[in-house]
């Protein structure tokens, strides 16, 4: 933020290359970390979109009936099958974690360190709960014979789509849990109180962007994979 010259540098060689690329003109009036996170999330959008488009392609092209997700993901409660119960709970857990994350960002900018760290930890715990339920779901389906190459319910492509899409999303949630835990610890220790330009809690907002994106991807997976 401090070393941003708009004209670039005349330094030769590698140093010049780094300076030309690092200190170029500024297009986005936001901290560089936030712009970079948004660009990373844009690239991630394309990754998940490719998965979901691939899922659409195999589902539309197979002549074997697609397994009914409503039945595959139902849970037995008192002898009655409740459709998509676990998925619904997972959805509410993830939305709640997005809510606590938004509050954490708000608290961080008010410099309420303790509250911000606690809310981030709550977010991470909800995320860990989500991953736990996903592990349960995977275990259940694997016991029922669902594999990436075959399953007893219908089209073989179902397993490949399920493990690929939810696995990649679960990986993102797991990474987010670790990321949030690390930042929460640093917030609590007061590391962001004494930056070069005074207190700076942008890192909480940047971590929050990542977390909300994970929730955003789940919105699409929930609608297109589980409900469709």
């Amino acid at each position: 933020m401090t070393a941003s010259s708009t004209t670039g540098s005349s330094a030769p060689g590698w140093r010049g290359l780094v300076e030309d690329w690092a200190a170029d003109q500024q297009a986005f009036q936001v901290p560089w970390g936030k712009a970079m996170m948004w660009i990373f999330l844009l690239s991630d959008t394309f990754v998940f979109s490719c998965f979901l488009t691939g899922y659409m392609a195999v589902r539309n092209s197979t002549t074997v009936p697609w397994p009914n997700p409503s039945e595959v993901f139902s849970l037995q409660i008192a002898g009655q099958p409740v459709p998509l119960l676990l998925i619904a709970i997972m959805t509410f857990v993830l939305i709640s974690s997005s809510g606590t994350m938004a509050m954490a960002v708000n608290c961080a900018y008010r410099r309420q360190r303790g509250a911000a760290a606690a809310l981030m930890l709550a977010t991470a715990l909800l995320g860990a709960t989500f991953v736990g339920m996903q592990a349960f779901e995977w275990t259940k389906l694997i016991h029922e014979g669902v594999r990436p190459w075959a399953n007893p319910m219908g089209a073989a492509q179902f397993g490949a789509c399920f493990f690929m899409i939810t696995g990649f999303h679960g990986l993102h949630v797991s990474a987010g849990v670790i990321y949030l835990a690390v930042v929460a610890r640093r917030v609590q220790q007061g590391r962001y109180e004494h930056g070069p330009g005074g207190p700076n809690y942008q890192i909480v907002e940047i971590a929050g962007l990542y977390w909300h994106f994970v929730d955003l991807v789940w919105v699409f997976i929930f609608a297109l994979f589980y409900l469709w």
């Binding site: 901290p31 948004w38 659409m56 092209s61 459709p83 509050m103």
Partner: protein, 106 residues
């Protein structure tokens, strides 16, 4: 560029609670679409409408896109529109493969 300029843009905390509640309601409604076993065009349109509303709320409020400058908004939200091309191509390709499979393998 200062940390302080960010603080003034913070939306009121009540707004987060409203969006949080709205996301709960929208999720419940899309779950009910499945629970009541709606089918056909009604099911698809409801699922897609609830999905779009939820995604919009998360991006606009939780991710603060509504308070960003246009340069950032366009840089992030326009490129994904290209995906419509990919989806269109893959849809027609999948339909073609489906036709061929129905013709030769059944």
């Amino acid at each position: 560029m200062h940390a302080s300029s960010q603080e003034h843009q913070q939306p009121p905390i009540a707004l987060y609670f409203k969006v949080w509640g709205l996301l709960f309601v929208l999720s419940t409604m899309s779950y009910l679409v499945d629970y009541f076993q709606l089918h056909g065009l009604l099911r698809w349109s409801l699922i897609l409408a609830f999905m779009a509303l939820k995604a919009g709320l998360i991006v606009a409020v939780f991710m603060h896109m509504a308070w960003e400058r246009l340069a950032l908004i366009y840089a992030i939200l326009l490129p994904p529109l290209l995906l419509a091309v990919l989806i269109g191509l893959m849809f027609s390709e999948a339909s073609w493969v489906h036709q061929m499979r129905s013709f030769y393998f059944k």
